[in-house]
Point group: C2
Chain length 269, copies 2
Amino acid sequence: MSKCLITIAYDGNPFNGWQRQANRPSVQECMEEACAVIFGHPLLVEGAGRTDAGVHAFGQAAHVVLPRPFPAQRLIPALNGNLPEGIAIRSSIEVPDSFHARFHAVGKRYVFRCVVSRIRPAVGRGYFHWVRRSLDMAAMATAGQHLLGCHDFSAFATNPGYVRLRGTIRTIQHLHIAKRTWGFDLVIQGNGFLYNMVRIIAGTLIDVGLGKMQADRVPEILANRDRRQAGATAPACGLYLLRVLYPNDLSLPAFQVDAEEEEEEEDTA
Amino acid sequence: MSKCLITIAYDGNPFNGWQRQANRPSVQECMEEACAVIFGHPLLVEGAGRTDAGVHAFGQAAHVVLPRPFPAQRLIPALNGNLPEGIAIRSSIEVPDSFHARFHAVGKRYVFRCVVSRIRPAVGRGYFHWVRRSLDMAAMATAGQHLLGCHDFSAFATNPGYVRLRGTIRTIQHLHIAKRTWGFDLVIQGNGFLYNMVRIIAGTLIDVGLGKMQADRVPEILANRDRRQAGATAPACGLYLLRVLYPNDLSLPAFQVDAEEEEEEEDTA
């Protein structure tokens, strides 16, 4: 028996989110079936968290307990050879038996990608959100600064009342709007996110950029803890889970796409 | 009656290429049906050239003769409102009756996009080619320089014997390998291209990058005019038609994506 922590990239479009469910293809199901081919029976692949249908991942994390000794590195080609092309294993390391991909995660980093153009972008729909009117990105950055740090994010969550174990208080460690020639990337990292939180933050910042909301309304929205005061939930197709963060002794190898995002950043904050 | 020259972006994945054909969805068919909704009957939409199934376009060009007076600019929202989301009209200008989108084109600019990574890229398949092994981009640039200028490109065409009217001699005006964090873009502009020529050039340069072919074999391959000596035809999904070039008096407005490609270039040649 050995336990592995693996990082997984996947395309959100062909799958109905991470979590296994009846009659709909999920990333977790594909992972577990690939394990069944290798080990003779399905294994539980426990993700660091769910991603909704349409959300992409460059660095989802998951652990799996292997039923027999198996080198962690060999799991990469073994799984990739049995997965559909929209899913790819990027790394695999052995971890202690006590490790848990979800309980030990100390943070997540996402990017929300948005194209801004008067004419609809025809190529690559499903890989970004689209806003037609130009955005005041300085105002968006100001609004984003109000979200940094430790807050009750009830106003920025779908069904915050369902959150029992961990409550609704989270810390956002980084948030910036990286301006691109074609629009912007919203890069955001926190110690955890409530349901739909990144997408509601994206929708709210877009409202600020469009002039529908003042940047300095954000502290009030946080304080009121009223979901109706924040912006709409932006579409899943713009969202990418870049990386799940673990304490340093379990840190995963940095991978290209993440590095690229960080290099290309032009922080307008 | 008035004639318009329009530029069109489209996603290569949902359509079976530009040209109308029985029982398979094509971009031309969608365009002609959108015209039918606006004008009451289908109009011939004559493209600057065909693109194969899977090839994307940011700036395909086409002309259409309108059966009644209609402002060229108004054609943009009118068509976009009747086209699927994978096709978008980017510009429309009035042109003289004598204008022909295909006969008057003096060149085309393409980009061939390739991701280089050991692990297969899971997100966004269908929008780039993928090479697993690292590439010697300096050698690729050297090979590319041999293709610049006026040559008989028979070795770089599928079925060059079918070309009758215009022969097999073409001029490549620009060719460079723009190195990216994730791989490369091959940007290429010429006064015209034979069938599959850009994709065969891409396949040949990749062979050079992989060390399967020496860069200085290219002049010999050109001289021998033997298709079998050049590399494989690289997949359609990596190819984007960026722009169709017309004489200056008909030049179209520069558009974002094209500008972006040009800005981001890091010429390794």
